[in-house]
């Protein structure tokens, strides 16, 4: 664990070393203040001398400048390191996600992913900006001060160290409880938020069932718990701060008591006593913060664990060693069985072949397994039994990228990205604008694109909210055409919200797209089914019939029923 954390830091070890040097320098300059005060009192103020006093002032001023610069540089440096580590981590996480299979995203809630890349990465950043380097600084300052004090007057130094140890123990104990209280407060805040969210989304149910009073009572409970948790944190805080102040004052008092005697007996100079009091004060901060730094570090380790667990998940394409090119050839489903979960078979013993250039329509009622057929062919999911071969090669041995390059998929509700129309067709692949326009023109998308302000440079909104469903479909056809796939998979869902004119264009466009190309069409339009070379009928995950339209109608089986139910009405419409 720690070694992996170190591996994150290692590329920045030079910067890190520089930051540590700066912290050392900073700690040294911090020592200067009390030292110069001592010198001022003992050399100039007590003996009532003024010659040379200005040099002390100038020297102190110079040290203050160095201190300021060092602090600036150190802050800047730690932030740069923190940001670089975060940048690389986010990059690594995001890149890893892109390589995960679809099944991973089915199981993982989006909120968890977002929290990982934002909150957990940030917790690690805290180590650099707040924890690690300043922690080192704290320890170094404390050691410097203690050594310095021991050299000057060991008995008073031991007094200061003794008090510091007691303070450290007290601070650690209270900080631990404070952390617990804060965690408790956060979890109570979470449940209050959850409660409110639920009460708002369920408001119709609450009102219909006259349950508003009961809900209010329930809310009182979580509300009270939250406020109690907050009070608990506040109580601990109000103990912590005065206690630390009290320790500081007590140390100063003890120093005055014992040191004062030594001054009167002329064993100790007045300046040294002031120096001790000032140093004792400066020791308070690092001691108090040390406990806090430790807690930050613990949080970061927990976050790092979560991040590394994700990065250790094998990527979907990890199993494929070869990236052999795919030859065009026969596509063969050989006794394919597939389930998303356990033994819940969505496809059962499916067998069929598609020869190059063939146009096959797949039909079936809702839930027959049509879309799953597409998902397994482009390896969003892998099948459990049987095999799928493309030109004699098992597709599980082929690179997913290669598969998806050769097999184009056209969704009828395609995803539109925020960006220009041109980019939504090319999807960022190197492609000349001419090629993009050619593709759009080929599938009759050109005329609507030209009507947009800016044409191909028109910037589409997120999810294409500013163009119609029919236009989105035409865009997806253009996308598929531009990529020139060997095999085309089309999910042809007839949409109700398309006007007859657009529907006519879409049908013509679709026929143009599949012309002369091996295509498997999950068909809902009679026009696409009628143009297919062969129709495969899926029923409850099984291939029950294959043949042409008229052959299948004559069989009086599933297809003829489907035809009655879904396609017959389209005769008049199209």
């Amino acid at each position: 664990m720690n070694r992996r954390l170190w591996r994150l830091i290692r590329p920045h070890s030079t910067l890190l070393a520089a930051a540590v040097v700066l912290v050392l320098l900073l700690s040294l300059t911090e020592l200067a203040g009390p030292y110069f005060t001592q010198q001022a009192i003992d050399r100039y103020i007590a003996p009532r001398r003024l010659d040379g006093y200005q040099w002390l002032a100038i020297l102190w001023f110079l040290v203050l400048i160095v201190n300021g610069l060092a602090r600036y540089a150190q802050l800047q440096l730690t932030n740069v390191i923190g940001q670089r580590v975060m940048f690389n981590l986010r990059d690594a996480i995001f890149a890893h996600w892109q390589r995960m299979g679809v099944a991973f995203f089915d199981r993982t809630p989006v909120g968890e992913l977002v929290s990982l890349i934002s909150n957990d990465v940030d917790a690690i950043n805290q180590v650099f900006t707040g924890g690690l380097i300043l922690g080192v600084g704290n320890v170094v300052s404390a050691v410097f001060i203690i050594v310095f004090l021991l050299l000057i007057n060991w008995s008073l130094a031991l007094l200061v160290v003794g008090m510091a140890v007691i303070m450290l123990v007290a601070a650690t104990l209270i900080t631990r409880r404070l952390r617990q209280a804060q965690r408790w407060t956060r979890s109570r805040l979470g449940s209050i938020n959850g409660f409110i969210q639920e009460a708002v989304s369920g408001v119709t149910t609450i009102q219909l069932f006259n349950a508003d009073r009961r809900i209010r009572d329930d809310f009182d409970v979580v509300n009270q718990e939250y406020s109690r948790a907050n009070l608990q944190s506040a109580t601990l805080f109000s103990i912590f701060l005065p206690l630390m102040n009290w320790f500081g004052a007590a140390t100063a008092g003890l120093l005055l008591w014992f040191g004062g005697g030594q001054v009167i007996h002329r064993v100790l100079t007045l300046g040294t006593l002031v120096l001790f009091i000032q140093f004792a004060e400066r020791l308070t901060t690092p001691v108090r913060d040390l406990a806090d730094k430790l807690a930050i570090f613990q949080t970061a380790v927990a976050s790092a664990e979560r991040i590394f667990t994700l990065l250790d998940r094998p990527a979907a394409d990890a199993d494929v060693a070869t990236t052999s090119a795919i030859q065009p050839g026969v596509l063969r489903f050989d006794h394919v069985w597939f389930a998303y979960q356990g033994e819940d078979w969505v496809l059962r013993d499916v067998c069929f072949e598609v020869a190059p250039g063939d146009k096959v329509a797949i039909v079936g009622a809702t839930g027959a397994g049509k879309s799953s057929l597409i998902s397994i062919l482009i390896r969003f999911y892998d099948i459990q039994k049987g095999s799928i071969h493309l030109a004699g090669q098992d597709i599980r041995g082929l690179d997913r990228r290669e598969i998806r390059r050769r097999i184009g998929v056209v969704f009828q509700d395609p995803f539109i990205f925020t960006g220009t129309v041109g980019r939504n067709i090319s999807l960022g692949e190197p492609m000349t604008p001419d090629r993009v326009e050619e593709a759009a023109a080929a599938v009759y998308a050109d005329s609507f694109i030209r009507r947009l302000r800016g044409g191909y440079d028109y910037v589409l909104h997120e999810r294409g909210s500013d163009i119609s469903t029919g236009q989105k479909q035409l865009l997806s056809f253009a996308r598929a055409f531009a990529f020139e796939p060997d095999i085309l998979l089309v999910l042809d869902e007839a949409t109700a919200s398309v006007d007859p004119e657009t529907e006519r264009i879409i049908q013509a466009s679709l026929l143009k797209l599949v012309a002369g190309r091996t295509s498997i069409i999950i068909a809902h339009r009679l026009s696409t089914i009628a143009h297919a070379d062969r129709i495969i009928v899926l029923h409850k995950g099984q291939v029950v019939e294959t043949g042409t339209h008229s052959e299948l109608l004559a069989r009086q089986g599933v297809y003829s029923r489907l035809y009655e139910l879904q396609y017959k009405d389209q005769l008049g419409a199209s």
């Binding site: 119709t204 069932f209 349950a211 009622a365 139910l565």
Partner: protein, 194 residues
Amino acid sequence: MRDLPLEWLRAQIRCVLQEPFLFSDTLARNIALGSPFPVSGEGRGGGLEWAAELSQLSADLDQFPHGLETVIGERGITLSGGQKQRATIARAVLTRPPVLVLDDAFSNVDTSTEEAILKGLQAAKGNQTRLVIAHRVSTIKDSELIVVLETGRAVEQGTHGQLLARRGVYARLYGHQRLEDDLLQWRNPDGGSR
């Protein structure tokens, strides 16, 4: 109805909404939402069990670690769509309201369970007025009165038999569903694939 006190009115009419909504709480407290009787302890009575029985939820209770006291939702176990729907049915029938509204309440329940629930409701009916909104003809075909709505207007009214005889919207809908059921029931005569 606008002159009636809202709280009283809502106690008379219980609804099962299209989207079942349950709180992250125990199943018992979810079902007893809006019931004036205590959820647990003395005086609870057998109302909850009766409602769970009627809504065909009882059989599922064995799967839950603490039966009716199982916490569901984010903090507990997740219910299936059908279980959620049946829990909201139990909630609506618990107080035996004079008026019961079922708004597409069986969309995630299979036909045989739906039939069992409808039978139970019929048996416990008494003077209860029931308003059933449904897409499936099987849910409503035994109703005393069927109202067919189209774009916000009542285009046909009558019993199942009367409406079929009219050969209008309802009859077309019924024919279509017969076809759909027929398709789903279809078995390959040879029994094999291909």
